[in-house]
């Protein structure tokens, strides 16, 4: 024991943690825990939990690290943990970027120990952070450095603050491996958004209890995490509604309550992560404590994300309190709390910045943190005054009164947090006010139902409390790890057995459906909506196109956050964004060039050569070929094939001008067709439509109104006038007010295209293209097709392009769902076939 303490002077090792590595007792415990750990990772794989983290791909590696780690002498374990993390970084990033990552990380730790004044060390760290921030925002773009800033800083962003704080206050680690393993924490590589583990806790809890207890705690928390994530999926699938679906009081309540309930994903992921760290012998404390049952603001602050609260207390609350206790004589607690909540807001933006690269200063965040901060401060001051009052009387209350009081407080807190959470997770304050205004609409039956549900919840809460009190259930709920072993084990076995089709097929259809819902890892449309707005979802998901963990596959390929940010210039008209001519964007994982006309295409002559047939392609990012090379875009492939196989002595050449660009919809195309397209003497114009054509037009029109762009067309001006929409209204409200006009606008757009084509002696072509994410609405498809045909469009149907292929095979990534190279090849094949069949109609070519 003394020998071990030479290596880890700050740790009080538990005597049982020092069992001989191969003692029968330890081996029994180890194999039991290993079996459970394998089951946990098997379930993670089978149920597709947090797929983008990479934990599924590296599950065997995690098990291997756990096995080796558990059988090496304790003094080598921190070093082994660090090296396991480093190996994974090299596997994920390659030698060059991996070395950048590790050297910069180690430099930050080294700087913290430089033999210079502490303030100079902090200054150098801040300077380095500033440089990394320039790379993170892509202000300076060097793929390896940007990648380092993106993936390394989240490992250091809070831990370095804690580490410097401990060094300043004299806690200098004598074992350097503990320091490096703290920063390069093995499980952290899978989840960049990680709980703030305190340094002192990390080193002091290392094997402070028998290993079996720590392993079992880890397993228990991982299982709890998985159950939370399952609950999240079920909530999303069954109850989640988008802001646009809030129409009355019941749907408003549903929107708010479900929004807050989605926090189970955060607690699920965090429980899983902390459990994973426990598997390596760190006896970490609880991170969430039944936060839905908080009875007051202070109680909630105690229960929700406890690691964050402890970090804030340690680094800000106590230092501020001690610094100002002689200056601020009155209301010191209130002053400190409000300052701390102001800092909490800043720290949330800081965290969001490093993980997503977005600088977010939303008024809604300020309101959220200030309201929460004020409530917790007021509650704290009341508690302080109550405890300070010498003569306070303790009233004797009946148990029943206490139960009612408690459940009413729980329901009240839950409802308050639901309101606040919906505010925080709605894109803008105007949107939130608009949604809340829907609450005015309800009928008496709905009101009676809501009141009945509320009363039922209160009585159920009282009943549960009586049950707990009278039947000693509380003891069972806080049972020791050994007692819950059976429960954990059976949960794991049930979940594992469900994942085998042989077993599942013998179960009722409802259970089979439940499994398919629980195991579907791809986020549905509503989840995506929630993720777009939700603070924590943004952190868990990370950037669009990037994964959340270093273990994720897409890490190997550096993806710029806004790859085409410099590809456009802005105009004060409906088109708004136009592609710059003669572009050649470098630093992407694909080439991107535009020609001298400012379209993503090869160079063409301005004047159409004799014997050439020209087709203008009007589309959005799908048709522009977001994420693939210029010559991989389906338009380029189809054009090349047409020129190879369809030309003859009369039709010497086919040219398809790709006018498509990201964010272009029907209205932008109307403007282009009126101003640009026919400059190039087009023979035909192909307009590309997708599912939810009307919805997309409305969303785009609302954005144009919001941006106050000149509408130019009297028809659109009339719609604005008639509908009464104003630019200051929320997007939600504008969209809702425009929706009744969606069909009229869409029809007007099609008429405009047909009219301009007729005027310029060109053939209008309507192409329906299936996206990689949406299901085709057959009714809508038939309506649009029929309408286009009635206006004289030649129609092309590109449905069923991808055949039976899994959608993931034809998408760039899970988050960037544009077609990949294979997707474009398939589209090109079908597009070419259709053009060939309808050649005579489209190009007026004699067969």
């Amino acid at each position: 024991m003394d020998k071990i303490n030479n290596y880890f002077p700050l740790i009080s090792f538990n005597s049982e943690s020092q069992l001989a590595i191969f003692s029968p007792k330890r081996l029994r415990s180890f194999f039991l825990s290993l079996f459970q750990f394998v089951l946990v990772l098997f379930i993670v794989t089978k149920y597709n939990f947090e797929k983008s983290s990479g934990i599924i791909d590296y599950a065997p590696y995690v098990i291997l690290v756990f096995v080796v780690y558990s059988f090496i002498p304790i003094r080598f374990r921190p070093a082994f943990l660090f090296l396991s993390c480093v190996s994974l970084i090299y596997i994920a990033f390659g030698i060059l970027a991996g070395s950048f990552f590790i050297v910069i990380g180690l430099s930050l730790i080294f700087i913290s120990h430089l033999p210079i004044k502490f303030k100079y060390r902090v200054f150098i760290v801040l300077l380095l952070a500033l440089i990394l921030a320039l790379f993170r925002t892509e202000f300076i773009y060097l793929p390896w450095m940007t990648m380092t800033a993106m993936y390394m800083v989240p490992l250091f962003m809070f831990r370095l603050i804690i580490y410097l704080y401990e060094i300043k206050n004299g806690l200098i680690p004598l074992n350097k491996w503990q320091s490096v393993s703290y920063f390069f924490m093995f499980p952290n590589v899978f989840f960049l958004f990680f709980p703030i583990i305190d340094y002192k806790t990390y080193i002091k809890t290392f094997l402070d209890s028998p290993e079996i207890e720590i392993w079992q705690k880890g397993i228990r928390w991982m299982v709890r995490g998985l159950i939370h994530i399952m609950c999240y999926r079920l909530i999303c699938l069954n109850f989640l509604i988008g802001p646009a679906e809030v129409i009355d009081l019941p749907s408003l309540l549903q929107y708010m309550v479900v929004n807050y309930s989605l926090i189970v994903r955060l607690s699920g992921v965090f429980h899983f992560m902390v459990g994973l760290v426990c598997m390596f012998g760190f006896n970490l404390p609880q991170i969430f404590d039944n936060y839905f049952t908080a009875t007051s603001f202070v109680d909630l602050w105690r229960r929700i994300n406890i690691y964050w609260r402890n970090f804030v207390l340690k680094i800000f609350f106590y230092p501020i309190m001690f610094r100002y206790k002689k200056i601020v004589k009155k209301n010191l607690l209130a002053f400190t709390m409000m300052t701390v909540f102001f800092i909490t807001w800043i720290m949330h933006s800081y965290q969001l910045f490093w993980i997503t690269g977005v600088v977010s200063v939303r008024p809604i965040d300020v309101i959220f943190w200030m309201v929460i901060g004020t409530c917790i401060t007021a509650n704290s001051v009341i508690i302080e005054r109550r405890t300070l009052s010498e003569n306070r009387e303790i009233k004797e209350l009946s148990n029943l009164y206490k139960y009612f009081k408690k459940i009413i407080r729980i329901v009240g807190m839950f409802f308050f947090m639901s309101i606040m959470w919906s505010l925080w997770n709605t894109p803008t304050l105007a949107d939130w006010i608009f949604i809340v205004s829907k609450g005015k609409q309800f009928d008496s039956m709905q009101l009676i139902l809501i009141v009945c549900i509320l009363i039922a919840i209160i009585f159920l809460g009282v009943f549960v409390q009586i049950l707990i009190k009278n039947h000693n259930i509380k003891k069972l709920l806080i049972a020791k790890p050994h007692d819950t072993l059976l429960l954990t084990f059976s949960t794991l076995l049930i979940l594992t057995s469900f994942s085998f089709i042989e077993i599942r097929s013998k179960l009722p259809a409802s259970i089979q459906k439940l499994y398919s819902n629980l195991s579907d890892g791809s986020p549905n449309k509503l989840e995506k909506t929630a993720a777009e707005a939700g603070y924590y979802d943004k952190l868990i998901e990370g950037d669009e196109g990037n994964t959340i963990g270093i273990g994720g596959k897409s890490v190997k390929k550096m993806v710029k956050k806004n790859p085409y940010v410099n590809a456009y210039f802005y105009q004060n008209n409906i088109v708004n964004r136009r592609m710059k001519p003669n572009l050649n964007i470098i630093g992407l994982d694909h080439n991107f060039q535009s020609n001298s006309f400012g379209i993503r295409d090869k160079e063409y002559l301005y004047k159409k050569p004799q014997g050439t047939k020209r087709l203008a392609l009007l589309g959005s990012s799908y048709q522009m070929g977001s994420g693939v090379d210029n010559d991989e875009v389906f338009e380029a492939i189809a054009e090349e094939k047409m020129n190879r196989e369809l030309t003859d002595s009369i039709n010497k050449k086919f040219e398809i001008f790709n006018f498509a660009a990201g964010g272009y919809y029907l209205l932008q195309h109307i403007e282009l067709i009126n101003t640009t397209v026919f400059q190039y003497d087009m023979d035909a114009v192909a307009y590309f439509a997708h599912t939810d054509e009307r919805g997309k037009v409305i969303k785009d029109f609302a954005l144009i109104i919001k941006k106050e762009l000149p509408l130019k067309y009297p028809f659109l001006e009339n719609i604005v006038k008639e509908s009464g929409v104003k630019p200051y209204m929320s997007m939600l409200q504008i969209k809702e007010m425009l929706t009744p006009y969606s069909d009229t606008i869409m029809k007007w757009g099609y008429i405009e295209i047909a009219k301009q084509c007729k005027k310029n002696n060109a053939i209008p072509v309507w192409v329906f293209m299936e996206t990689t994410t949406e299901f085709v609405d057959l009714k809508e498809f038939n309506e649009l097709k029929e309408y286009a045909e009635s206006l004289g469009f030649v129609t092309i149907d590109l449905r069923d392009t991808y055949g039976k292929l899994d959608r993931n095979e034809i998408r760039i990534s899970e988050l960037n769902t544009h077609p990949n190279v294979l997707g474009h090849r398939l589209i090109a094949e079908k597009f070419y076939k259709e053009l060939k069949i309808k050649k005579s109609l489209i190009f007026r070519v004699e067969e």
């Binding site: 340690k314 607690l333 405890t387």
Partner: protein, 87 residues
């Protein structure tokens, strides 16, 4: 002036009991009852305990000393007070 460890323990126990546990039905407070990790005192009450210790035993806390390592049980608190008094 340094105080006897047992006296400190008893004084702190009385303070915690009267100040923080008036409302708790039948909770037994021993010298080893975990105060912070057991959830008996939170950050607000911890600060009251700190002020009490500073005033009673005439020494000053540093911000980083306000943690579980120095304040989790009455035994630990007494040891910390003695350590501070002895400089």
């Amino acid at each position: 002036m340094s105080s006897n460890v047992n006296e400190i323990k008893e004084t702190v126990r009385e303070f915690v009991k009267n100040r923080f546990l008036k409302n708790s039905d039948g909770l037994e407070l021993t010298y080893s009852t975990p105060l912070i990790s057991g959830g008996i005192i939170d950050s607000i009450l911890t600060m009251q305990l700190v002020v009490f210790l500073e005033q009673t035993y005439s020494f000053e806390f540093q911000a980083h000393e306000v943690d579980k390592d120095n304040l989790d049980t009455i035994e630990i608190i007494a040891a910390f007070v003695v350590k501070k008094q002895n400089g």
